[in-house]
């Protein structure tokens, strides 16, 4: 049985921690080198022979090099699973870009000349896709990406990081896998919808009720494990088991919904952010609040043997209200 020695970025995020727990139960995983910006205690797991932790600020180029040619080489890491993207949508600027894009680019380039690494798996997101009226509502991997010049940095960075990895596919000696995951509706997972549903009243565009697809934590972890177990490379959509209209989502979350004319929504949500400090940004979500965007997971079913299986727990756990 071949074993994997894994470097996992974003290890202290909820998905990262859950993944580490799952990997420690997997006999094919020889060692997990978990990487995060927080102290090791935030991982909440005992370090030992199969789990080590490095506190690294991936925004710094020197730190990235030290990580790969220091601890990663010492532990004979064979696979990088890169999940670290900045989660707060309200933040922007060069330092955010450094984490989202430059870290991805450099980790990939460093891995190419690394003596032991031969695989690079990038956890991208469905936010990279362009959702408009005249494009398919069921989104396959060839769907146009959101390259609009007016797209917010949160989206631009994700598209750039995704493309940075995709352009190396077939050119690099590494086996490269990109997973474009549906939104994982969980706290602290960078979910815009989760923040949206924190308000007791959810505003949505009058006259539109698009279909959404959501990923549970269980399926998110399972898709990453299947990617680790797979020798293939390519781009794969990772849909979730919950496909439902926005209105139904709001109802299931136990929130009151108020449809309003589109021009009012942006200012009202900006006001809410200014007064209550929400991370939800309407400008990031306005298109998908109008037009359906459901991931087509058939390639992942064929290539990774991944099929969504676990529905979200309704009502959502960990939510206030």
């Amino acid at each position: 049985m071949s074993t994997t020695r894994l470097l996992l970025t974003g290890a202290t995020t909820p998905i990262g921690v859950a993944l580490v727990r799952a990997l420690l139960d997997d006999p094919t995983i020889d060692h997990v080198l978990a990487v995060g910006r927080e102290p090791a205690a935030s991982l909440g797991l005992p370090l030992g022979e199969r789990l080590s932790y490095e506190r690294v600020d991936l925004r710094r180029s020197r730190a990235r090099r030290r990580l790969l040619f220091g601890p990663a080489r010492e532990r004979g890491v064979t696979t990088i699973l890169h999940t670290a993207l900045h989660r707060r949508a309200q933040d922007s600027g060069r330092r955010i870009h450094d984490l989202n894009v430059e870290a991805t680019r450099e980790l990939l380039h460093l891995a190419e000349r690394h003596p032991t690494i031969d695989r690079f798996i990038f956890r991208s997101s469905a936010a990279v896709y362009r959702i408009v009226a005249d494009k398919p509502s069921v989104i396959d991997e060839e769907h146009p990406l959101n390259l609009g010049p007016r797209a917010p940095q949160w989206i631009r960075d994700r598209v750039e990081a995704d493309l940075t990895v995709c352009t190396q596919m077939g050119l690099s000696r590494l086996k490269i896998l990109v997973l474009r995951c549906a939104e994982c509706l969980a706290p602290d997972a960078g979910s815009q919808l989760y923040d949206y549903l924190q308000a007791p009243v959810c505003l949505r565009p009058l006259g539109f009720d698009p279909m959404l697809n959501l990923l549970s934590m269980g399926d998110a972890i399972r898709s990453l494990r299947l990617a680790l177990a797979c020798e293939c490379e390519g781009i794969f959509n990772i849909p979730g088991a919950d496909t439902l209209p926005l209105s139904r989502l709001i109802a299931l979350a136990g929130r009151r919904q108020v449809p309003l004319p589109e021009p009012l929504l942006g200012p009202l949500y900006r006001l809410r952010t200014a007064t209550l400090g929400s991370d939800f940004r309407y400008d990031l979500n306005s298109w998908r609040f109008h037009f359906s965007g459901v991931l087509d997971g058939r390639r992942a079913a064929a290539g990774l043997d991944y099929r969504p299986a676990t529905r979200l727990d309704w009502p959502l756990s960990g939510a206030s209200g």
Partner: protein
Amino acid sequence: MVASTRPSLAARIAARARAALPLDWREQVESLRYADAGHGFDSLGLHPDTVAFGAQALRFLYERYFRVRSSGAENIPGEGPAILASNHSGALPFDGAMIYLDVLRKSRPARVVRPVLDLFVPGLPFVSTFFARLGAIGGSRGTVRYALEQGELLLIFPEGTEGIGKNFSQRYQLQRWRVGHVELAIRYGAPVVPVAVIGAEEQWPQIARLDSVHVLGIPYLPLLLTPLPLPVRYHILYGEPVDFRGRLTPQDADDPEKVAAAAAQVKAAVAELIAKGLAEREGIFR
């Protein structure tokens, strides 16, 4: 968060509409098969309760106003991908609605036909959502391809807006016949059922159209002779399916000449059905 257990207003209305349907309609609606994507909707937005509501809401038009008669419904395949290709007219797509209801009523086993909408329709408020819940899909190539791969029955008007926007003087003259439906049929092995709608071409006489006026993305503004559509009688004729599978391979969908010839065959079949329907009817309102 506490999940709402009380059905929404829309759900309650849909449930009442379903209960109010006559038994034969209700049996058809309740026997519909659809790929539930998890919450009672399919991936493209179809919702059976809204289908029931739509049937109840539009049944008056179907049974009383346009008094639809149809023949050849046995030509609609009972399962698997298939395409209904019809002439198109009438200023507003009542012809699509009547075909939709007729297929719902008469297909055995019951099927929902998925009308393929022009690209501007998903951008229309209310209309886009209601149509999606009824099963209509946006006309982008990817969505149509997905629907066929899922074995859906599609309704395509190859004339597009040129058909629905034609003037009264052009009634029953097929306009430029696009070839996309035939490309899809060849590539995905879907039979094409030619359909003729008689009556819709006279329902709302259009005397001119303003091509420079675009409201909500609609490509033109029609100038109509009457404030409401006329209560013409609809006759819907379904022809024998045209199946390309024996003659053409999926690769032939990339051959423009073969595609054009296949589209011409479908167009001729529709034209023949129109001629038959016009010859058989006793009058516009009868």
